[in-house]
């Protein structure tokens, strides 16, 4: 069991960190060169206007007043208005549009990494010093040495440009329109913003409707036509997810291997074997469960690398998530947008690590002491 006290303590520890994060983010606007009012109005705007805008934005107030206001606004997820990229619209709206894109990429990337990395790490440890082990280890070491902005272009060149099996960029084929809501029995329902899930919902809706009111069971014959937009979305996601996932997979399999090696030398493994327990069950039930515990912490830490990787992946594959948004915002000196994006990234990372810590304490209650 996870005690409420542990979670409360862990949350309390978050407060100074979040405070510090907000301070760093506040500093972005105030340490960056240039007058924000000038940036908004352009270099040729009359001084009169600039002075007035400075007053409106509260840039003439003492720095601590501005800091207090920033903290209060940030606590309400109000990051101000975008200067350039989406001029005039609230930063939060822009972020809310783009965030699901990055989260989708990160989740699939993480799942790929876990599904491939953990079995490989276990295999490598169980067959220590065999050929399989050497190949896996060297493969993993190579995997963490290959930057995403090289592996990304390479898989694109091979699978999209040369073989033509998969699309080169974007989130869905150009013949499809990304809806932002769906209709069920006449009611409008919001969608997630994650293209694979949304298209699946919409396609399934159309398909079921056709079975009930149209073609009947004959609709199964043209299943791929009904799921065309979903298939297109998956095809577009495949290479980015693969690129992002492989790097994390390599990291995870290394951790899993060393953790597993430590565990299978423990007495309780010897005991399990001595009592005649099958090797499979010994490894999976007694070994894996214990070896996973430290790896879960690593998954949290490595999630930061994954988010950084998402920025690069989005850039290579032309996917408009918050990573690409951040890069564009920095290029355009759109500081409120930079602040909002950086804060959201830091929050995501911190929350995932909080979740990881809680999971960890659930799996290994000793940590709560």
């Amino acid at each position: 069991m996870v005690s409420k006290r542990f979670i409360a303590k862990r949350l309390l520890l978050l407060v100074p960190v979040l405070f510090g994060v907000a301070t760093v983010v506040f500093a972005i606007l105030h340490l960056a060169p240039g007058d924000p009012a000038r940036v908004i109005l352009g270099q040729r705007a009359p001084t009169q206007q600039v002075v007035q805008l400075r007053r409106e934005l509260g840039l003439n107030d003492p720095i601590w007043v501005q800091y207090g206001r920033f903290l209060a606004d940030t606590a309400q997820l109000d990051f101000g208005q975008s200067y350039q990229i989406a001029k005039g619209s609230p930063v939060w709206n822009v972020l809310a549009d783009r965030l699901p894109v990055t989260i989708e990429l990160a989740i699939y990337g993480q799942i790929t990494a876990i599904l491939l990395g953990i079995p490989l790490g276990v295999l490598s440890a169980v067959k220590q010093d065999s050929l399989t082990d050497h190949v896996t280890r060297i493969g993993a070491l190579t995997g963490i040495s290959v930057p995403i902005f090289w592996s990304g272009p390479l898989v694109l060149l091979v699978f999209a440009t040369f073989l033509g099996w998969l699309p080169t960029s974007g989130r869905i084929g150009s013949t499809f329109f990304l809806e932002d809501h769906w209709v069920l029995f006449g009611t409008q329902l919001p969608l997630t913003g994650m293209v694979s899930i949304d298209t699946f919902i919409l396609d399934t809706g159309a398909f079921v409707q056709s079975i009930l009111y149209g073609e009947g069971l004959g609709a199964f014959a043209s299943l791929t036509e009904y799921y065309a937009s979903f298939i297109s979305a998956v095809q577009h996601l495949f290479l980015p997810v693969l690129t992002l996932g492989i790097y994390s997979m390599a990291l995870l399999s290394r951790m899993m291997r060393s953790s597993m090696l430590e565990v299978i030398r423990q007495d309780y493994i010897r005991t399990a074997r001595a009592k005649g327990q099958g090797e499979r069950i010994t490894i999976l039930k007694h070994g894996l469960r214990n070896a996973l515990i430290p790896v879960i912490t690593v998954i949290g830490i490595q999630f930061g690398t994954l988010l950084g990787g998402a920025v690069l992946t989005e850039t290579v594959f032309g996917i408009g998530g918050i990573g690409q948004l951040l890069v564009a915002a920095i290029g355009a000196t759109d500081y409120p947008l930079v602040q909002g994006t950086v804060l959201v990234f830091a929050l995501l990372f911190t929350l995932v690590n909080l979740g990881v810590d809680v999971t960890y304490s659930y799996l290994d209650p000793r940590i709560q002491q």
Binding site: F149, S258, L307
Partner: protein
């Protein structure tokens, strides 16, 4: 712990001392670590060679005829282009020369980032460990804030403050990497401070700086070296990543990151793979070298550290 201390008035020869060190003998018997070291040394040689002898001067109009743009590597068939081992880029520049020069840039800026953050991290970590209490808390909680950002994103946020350019990227990455060193050094220093010889030194009347520099620091060197080596690879990737995103090297600089950026924008859809392939290959080989060596060092230092040093 197998650390080399230079503080003793040891009269043994350097070779004998190296041989007596279990750390080095262990490291030198690790084949993968030796491969890593060779890769790094090879890259250093190439980089230095490029810095000294390769002329990246602009291509004159008369040369342009013999310098077609986006020419594939010479060995792929067209005999006329034999001179271009790695082909040419969209601006008709010889990719081979630029990739070699990129090694010089990557290593130079990597040394700057890792060197600066190691020095900063050592200072902060040792001070935090030695003075403890409030100092420790202030220093380490500040480090925690920096560690609360995913590293590439913190670097991007700092670039938003400092502006783009290789020298500014070096400063940004130094700030990003310092907390990692501070953490490792603090941990190591706390362990060293428990040893009796520290008490003895203090009892003999040594002042703080002397204790820290002559006694604590040398005994923390092993984990610091491992950390530096492993982070060197990451630093080179991050440097290239920032150039790739358009915030590092200025247009025209033969940095691997920038060459990859050009490769993506000019060669992906047309299938001109050599624009991206060679710069990335050299980058990956360099990073692999540091990872192999770092892994070997970590295992040699203490096999039990595998999980604690990232």
């Amino acid at each position: 712990m197998a650390t080399e201390t230079s503080t003793t008035t040891d009269s043994r020869g350097i070779v004998e001392r190296l041989r007596a060190s279990p750390f080095l003998s262990e490291l030198l018997s690790n084949r993968l670590a030796i491969i890593g070291l060779s890769l790094i040394l090879g890259m250093v040689l190439l980089g230095v060679y490029a810095r000294l002898f390769i002329d990246l001067g602009a291509i004159s109009q008369s040369q342009l005829a013999a310098h077609p743009n986006k020419a594939p590597p010479g060995w792929l068939g067209s005999a006329a282009l034999d001179q271009f081992l790695f082909g040419t880029d969209a601006a008709a520049r010889d990719i081979f020369k630029r990739v070699l020069y990129g090694a010089w840039l990557a290593l130079k800026f990597g040394v700057l980032v890792v060197g600066a953050s190691t020095v900063l991290g050592i200072s902060l970590g040792i001070i935090a460990a030695y003075y403890g209490d409030v100092v420790d808390n202030v220093v380490m909680r500040t480090m925690d804030v920096f560690l609360a950002f995913p590293s590439l994103l913190l670097a991007l946020a700092l670039v938003a403050i400092f502006g783009a350019g290789l020298s500014k990227v070096v400063i940004a990455l130094t700030l990003v990497y310092t907390p990692r060193f501070a953490r490792v050094v603090r941990g190591a220093a706390l362990k060293v401070l428990e040893d009796e010889y520290i008490d003895a030194t203090v009892a003999l009347g040594a002042r703080d700086p002397r204790v820290l520099v002559r006694h604590v620091l040398p005994n923390c060197l092993a984990p610091i070296t491992v950390q530096s080596t492993l982070n060197f690879g990451l630093a080179i990737i991050d440097l290239a990543a920032l150039s790739f995103l358009g915030f590092g090297a200025q247009a025209g600089t033969p940095s691997w990151g920038l060459m990859l950026k050009n490769g993506v924008s000019n060669g992906l859809l047309t299938g001109d793979w050599w624009l991206s392939f060679f710069p990335g290959l050299f980058l990956a080989i360099t990073v692999l070298g540091f990872n192999l060596l770092g892994d070997g060092m970590r295992d040699a230092l203490d096999p039990r550290m595998r999980e604690t040093v990232e």
